[in-house]
Symmetry: C2
Subunit: 301 residues, 2 copies
């Protein structure tokens, strides 16, 4: 069966006549009759009742007519959808994000803004740490990922900076330093640190430790947490202090105090990582949305 058979059948059913339908289709009557007969043979039942002069739809034909109209409409819709997909209006977007990104206003507004502009793109969100996300991005399992540099990158990865936030100190509310509005890194030389670190050795924690050493002390690492939010939880349980991105303040809870840190570098960066080798209009639109949100862009390999 071919769509031609359906088109011819619909025309014949609507014209209630082979001759008239053939005229409408700009073909001769005999080939139309042949095509309809071939269709009937394939289906296994007559679709028209021949009454010598004139024809009427059989019961099977009436049912098949609704199916045929539906199928032909879907074929047209399929064409339009494919075009819209090519224009990035329709499709899917698999987006990875690090746990701490969900606390950042820039990130959440990016996703909601994109979804508002492209409501027919289905977004699949996937949480993971930056290293894993970058690995998945390289493998093509993700279209884009919101991660915290630095990270070990295998292959070509483009990073567009979404947000650069200062670091803050989180203290248990019983801590002696809560009296101070603003702390310097040196003020923390004798504190017990709760860090969140990656197996790779990269990441914000490593940068913080390096900065401490540059300032002449080796921080005592009392606890290791897998994620930033779990580090904050350990602080609220009195296990030590932590240095976290400012956006973690959203995680406000009793027994927890955030204090400014007088420190220019390092900053907590959130970036939108993409794989230039695997570009698509959908991803380009997401990048454009991100650019519009931050007002600036950066390219890092």
């Amino acid at each position: 069966m071919e769509l031609r058979h359906l088109r011819y059948f619909v025309a014949t059913a609507q014209a209630q006549s082979f001759t008239k339908a053939a005229q409408a289709l700009h073909i001769a009557q005999p080939p139309l009759g042949q095509q309809i007969r071939a269709l009937e043979e394939e289906i296994g039942t007559p679709l028209f009742l021949r009454q010598g002069r004139g024809i009427v739809l059989s019961d099977a034909g009436a049912v098949f007519l609704t199916s045929a109209l539906d199928i032909l409409a879907r074929v047209e819709a399929a064409k339009k959808d494919a075009l819209r997909a090519a224009g990035g209006e329709l499709g899917t977007l698999t987006l990875g994000f690090t746990e701490s990104a969900s606390f950042n206003e820039v990130v959440t507004s990016l996703i909601s803004r994109y979804q508002q502009q492209y409501p027919e793109v289905g977004i699949t969100l996937l949480e993971g740490n930056s290293e894993t996300l970058i690995k998945r991005l390289s493998r093509g399992e993700l279209d884009a990922a919101i991660v915290r540099p630095p990270f070990a990158s295998t292959g070509d990865i483009a990073l567009q900076v979404l947000s650069e936030e200062p670091l803050m100190v989180v203290l248990p509310s019983s801590h002696r330093l809560v009296r101070r509005k603003r702390l310097r890194l040196e003020d923390l030389r004798d504190e017990r640190f709760v860090l969140y670190s990656r197996k790779s050795g990269y990441g914000l924690s490593a940068d913080i430790v390096a900065e401490c050493r540059r300032r002449g002390f080796n921080p005592s690492i009392h606890q290791q947490a897998p994620q930033v939010s779990s580090a904050v939880n350990l602080v609220s349980a009195g296990m030590g202090i932590a240095i976290v991105p400012a956006s973690m303040q959203r995680m406000q809870r009793p027994g927890l105090v955030f204090r400014e840190l007088a420190l220019e570098q390092p900053k907590a960066i959130l970036g939108l990582a993409t794989c230039p080798a695997r570009q698509s209009v959908v991803i380009e639109h997401l990048l454009a949305c991100a650019q519009l949100g931050t007002g600036e862009a950066e390219q890092v390999s």
Copy 2:
């Protein structure tokens, strides 16, 4: 676009390769590539990204793949549905019935039994008097009609008797005759009759009047009602007495008394009328259902 394009596209997308897909389709690789290219040109966007060695679906291709699979599945379903429609399993049935038929157990059980056996046949019920229904049946507006003979029939109409019920007398409960269990027609000679009659002059009422005359009296017709049920309503309002099919007892209400009538002829007949010129499997199944329900059949022109 033809279904061939969709079949080739799906095979290619699933094989992720023109060469492999061509093998699966039992055609050579070049014509497959040509068909896919023609499809892409018609849609207006590439469906595959050619990477010299190997191909991958584009975003548009991914969206089009789901559409193509859906369409191909619907084509198969359409074939099956048409066959099932030819077998009377699927379709529509437009069934007329006289108002009084809805009180008859044989009729209601026929419809429910048919619907149970053929749940995918959509039944449209249409009420009307017997004359109108027969006219509509002849015009092909109805597939079948449950009517009360006799009626004026234009054209060839087959009637299968569904139910032959005795007639009963309906009296207001205040009536002097309610004391009697069983009445003869002669007992009613001085009563005021409420009749339900048709413009055509045919019908049960006409038969009853004829039977009265045969027994030597002319019934005084006090009221005319358009339907049997409205005649019964008039009786309950004290406007007279009526002779109705036994199944009208279902219309029990205060102030209304039903009494047996000692009368062999006429009987109140309900029949399933069909148009032999416009047969179909669906109608045949309905007739078979009716035959099973009554255990007998009759053919009347």
